[in-house]
Amino acid sequence: MSELIRLTAAELAEKIHSREVSAVEAAQAHLDRIAAVDGRVHAFLHIGSEAALASAERVDAALARGAAPASPLAGVPLALKDVFTTSDMPTTCGSKILEGWQPPYDATVTERLRAAGVTVLGKTNMDEFAMGSSTEHSAYGVTRNPWDTTRVPGGSGGGSAAALAAYEAPLAIGTDTGGSIRQPAAFTGTVGVKPTYGGVSRYGLVACASSLDQAGPCARTVLDAALLHEVIAGHDPRDSTSIDRPVPDVVAAARSGARGDLSGLRVGVVRELGGEGYQPGVRAAYEASLRLLEKLGAEMVEVSCPHFEYGLAAYYLILPSEVSSNLARFDAMRYGLRAAEGRSAEEVMANTREQGFGAEAKRRIMLGTYALSSGYYDAYYGQAQKVRTLISRDFAKAFEQADVLVSPTTPTVPFPIGDKVDDPLAMYLNDLATIPTNLAGVTGMSVPSGLADGLPVGLQVMAPALGEAVMYRVGAAFEAARDADEGGPLIARVPEVSA
């Protein structure tokens, strides 16, 4: 196995830019790794070897000409969640209804990655249309957690997280609607960031729930996440909800955080997410994390966010409502699957949707249709929006008392494949701690915080809208201190995947 795949993105970039290693070698090493282990992990739905190598060649050629790298990550391989449109690869969103669909256009994120010279290796597996917490709701089969291949990698971005943990790619892109970047990061011992809502363009990101969806970076270190964040973030005139303000300097923040001093910083411990009802091992790791932050000089304050307990309920009304509308376009008329049978346009649509959507997608379409229907709108959707406002206010008050907030990322360690697939409510509980940030549009990250029962758990760090700098600083400081305490990064302890 090539040692190139063990490098962080920052390290690999340095070797490529100094021409010690070529981008093509880096790409090939990862393609080889994918060929070796993905049969077992199933992180990828599509591998674009030719395009990846061609892109890497262009980077090498430019460097050979003496040109400066197009970005600090030029030539570094990346795995892209299959929810972004790509004009040279299919985009299926893990759904049968889009099987084989090759979009005629690139998402803004895809464009920015290309412009930065990042090598897109392929598209990663996900819960259908980003709905799920285990990547078991993909129409193309489950993704396995490299830490224990009988367990889930989390969801919906399980493919992206697993690709990192299995060393198939040093970088990945995910989307986070209620925790789909952070929860898989926690489950795989990697770093995942949900930027501020509107911080990364949604143009070309196939919508799950428009008001909650946020694309973000996935990596094995906080610095790598910051470098990737910088590549994809920033205003996009094609997305009207995109923020037209400068992107916080997350790379500088990550570098300064890594020096490990958090004195003068107030860290808010969210009482309502304090580990009550969490798995004992998760709780223990969290308590250790709090002690570590204190050791770094942070001032620990307890904050209360009393409406967080309604977050899950509000989320499961707002999300399905938007889903029911966003998924209406998959109707067999213009692209994707078309059912052969049907005597009328309506029947063809209905039959296609019956065949093309999986159980979870159908469940949420039904829920949302009901929640939006006249007579129920005020009781459900309207009420949920009020809860959303209250949660935003909770955050605003908490951020008056603290610079960042912390909680465990998930209540449990990765669960066995099949364990919760027939119990949607149990599955939904996994996103309990991550959902409030999506409802309020603030930013959050998950950093590896240790092992419980031999499986990874994560610490969630949350900051106000556009407060990414302080969040990255805390994440990097915590990561550095934890690595020092434990004698190396957690991810180094992931077992070798056997094919």
Binding site: P103, Y105, A207, R238, L372, S374, Y377
Partner: protein, 504 residues
């Protein structure tokens, strides 16, 4: 299907029922790009050539609001005396239809850009009726389906359908009236006058080409009858997509007679959409609305709210042109014409043309006379609008100038106009090419008169005998000989002059 009923005579309907109307008009804005993307909006392009991921509703594509469309909407709202909302959102109207790319229409629901205005109509007899405007809101148009293989072009019976998304995403404004009660026998006229006034307004604002024949302006007419004086609101029907001014009037008239017939027969009006048939002048049942459709409206999460500042609104108010009714009043005063005359000009579609002709230097009297008589006839014969005749107001003004300078007679002037219409060039070019000039050389005229007199000695006798009216025959002969290019009045004088010495 509703059973065929004997229509009730219109006078009888209004003797016993009060019609209550509501009119919704959709206007396609003539912005250069679509409501939520940069695709062009031109009419008549090859199918599916003016589309992109956004207006095709492709997965991942996102809308961005067209500022020019919002400006048009605000200007329309201001011209209709509406309040402009300081903050509002788009909503999604969810329903499935093959020609709707996202299966929801991005529209405005409970937060329209303009509300609570009015429009004053002047009817043919000068009566002014105020129509309340409930709201004007922005939305996007859908694509178009073409059903192939069936007998009547409808989806039922077709063996396949073609979809053209060029129109999908074209900005629309929907203008909704408040309930229009108490119009009685004038309901059809009021409906037509309202749609006409809106059309003129949109034209003067320059926000739409308002071509009803091309669907860029469509009217839906809601109508119910209530027993005279009862104050009870009847069940209404909605006649959809009426696409000419005349049809609006006919649809209202027919629906009143039909509903009265159903009620007289002891039946109930079914709340449904109806289609107007241009051929028969009747409406026929469309989709039944037993339960109101549930569109599951909710605020469009892909768009940020629209919050026009008061400065922006005032700046747009400053861009309002002289509105059609203000302009009509001004012109009436300037030209000193009656209500009736100005209405005839408007109805003939000639007001702009006359005004332009006057602006080119012609007296209003002559300009009106040309456009409402000879040129209107020419347009009529060609089945086009006067504005589409291949002659400009400036050319008409030049013809009028030549007549008043005595260089053309009215008859010659018509020949000059015919030449221009035939593409022979400008009036002066036609005059030159056809040699159409009044023969003003006295000697030439005298020679022609003498020649004619010599040919008809019997007429000369009559004139000399005192029958001066017999001169007409000589004048006619001279005009014929000069191919109409002589001044008939002068010829007549000469005839009498040349015949005079004998009787004296």
């Amino acid at each position: 299907m509703t059973a065929a009923v004997e229509l009730v005579d219109f006078d009888d309907v209004v003797a016993r029922f009060d019609p209550v109307m509501g009119i919704e008009v959709h206007v396609e804005l003539s912005t250069t790009t679509k409501m939520f993307c940069g695709c062009p909006t031109g009419f008549g392009a090859e199918p599916n050539t003016q589309v992109c991921p956004v207006c095709l509703g492709l997965p991942g594509a996102l809308p961005v609001v067209n500022r020019a469309a919002v400006e048009s909407a605000i200007r329309i709202g201001l011209a209709l005396n509406c309040e402009i909302a300081p903050w509002g959102r788009f909503a999604r109207k969810n329903y499935f239809y093959p020609d709707m790319p996202k299966n929801f229409q991005t529209s405005q629901y409970d937060e329209p850009i303009a509300t609570d205005g009015f429009l004053d109509l002047t009817l043919d007899d000068g009566e002014v009726v105020r129509i309340g405007i409930e709201r004007a809101h922005m939305e996007e148009d859908t694509g178009k389906s073409l059903h192939v293989g069936g007998a009547d072009g409808r989806i039922h019976g077709a063996d396949h359908s073609l979809l053209d998304y060029n129109r999908a995403g074209v900005p629309l404004i929907e203008i909704v009236t408040k309930m229009i009660p108490d119009t009685g026998a004038r309901a059809p006229e009021v409906a037509r006058a309202y749609v006409t006034a809106l059309r003129d307004l949109m034209k003067s604002l320059g926000v739409s080409d308002v071509r009803m024949d091309q669907g860029s302006m469509r009217a839906d007419v809601n109508l119910s009858l209530s027993p005279r004086g009862s104050g009870l609101l009847g069940t209404r029907t909605e006649t959809k997509n009426v696409n000419s001014l005349r049809s609006v009037e006919r649809a209202v008239r027919h629906e009143m007679s039909r509903q009265a017939a159903v009620l007289d027969a002891g039946g109930e009006i079914v709340q449904e959409t109806r289609h107007f048939d241009e051929q028969t002048g009747h409406t026929r049942a469309g989709r039944r609305k037993e339960t109101s459709e549930d569109y599951r409206y909710f605020p469009e999460p892909d768009l940020v709210p629209i919050a026009p500042s008061s400065e922006w609104i005032e700046q747009l108010r400053g861009t309002l042109p002289e509105l059609p009714w203000e302009r009509r009043r001004r012109i009436q005063a300037e030209w000193g014409v009656s209500d009736e005359e100005i209405r005839d000009l408007v109805n003939a579609g000639a007001l702009d043309l006359v005004e332009a002709t006057v602006a080119a230097g012609a007296p209003s009297q002559e300009a009106r006379s040309w456009w409402v008589s000879y040129l209107a006839q020419q347009a009529n014969a060609r089945e086009i609008e006067p504005a589409d005749l291949p002659i400009t107001p400036e050319q008409v003004a030049r013809v009028i100038e030549l007549v008043s300078a005595g260089e053309l007679t009215n008859k010659l002037a018509r020949q000059v106009v015919d030449g221009v219409l035939a593409g022979e060039g400008s009036p002066d070019e036609v005059v030159a090419a056809r040699g159409l000039k009044v023969v003003s050389d006295e000697g030439e005229l005298v020679a022609a008169v003498d020649a004619a007199l010599a040919e008809q000695p019997d007429v000369v006798e009559k004139i000399r005998g005192g029958k001066v009216q017999a001169a007409g025959a000589i004048v006619g002969a001279v005009m014929k000989a000069t191919r109409g290019q002589a001044d008939a009045k002068r010829v007549r004088e000469l005839v009498i002059e040349r015949c005079a010495p004998v009787s004296g």
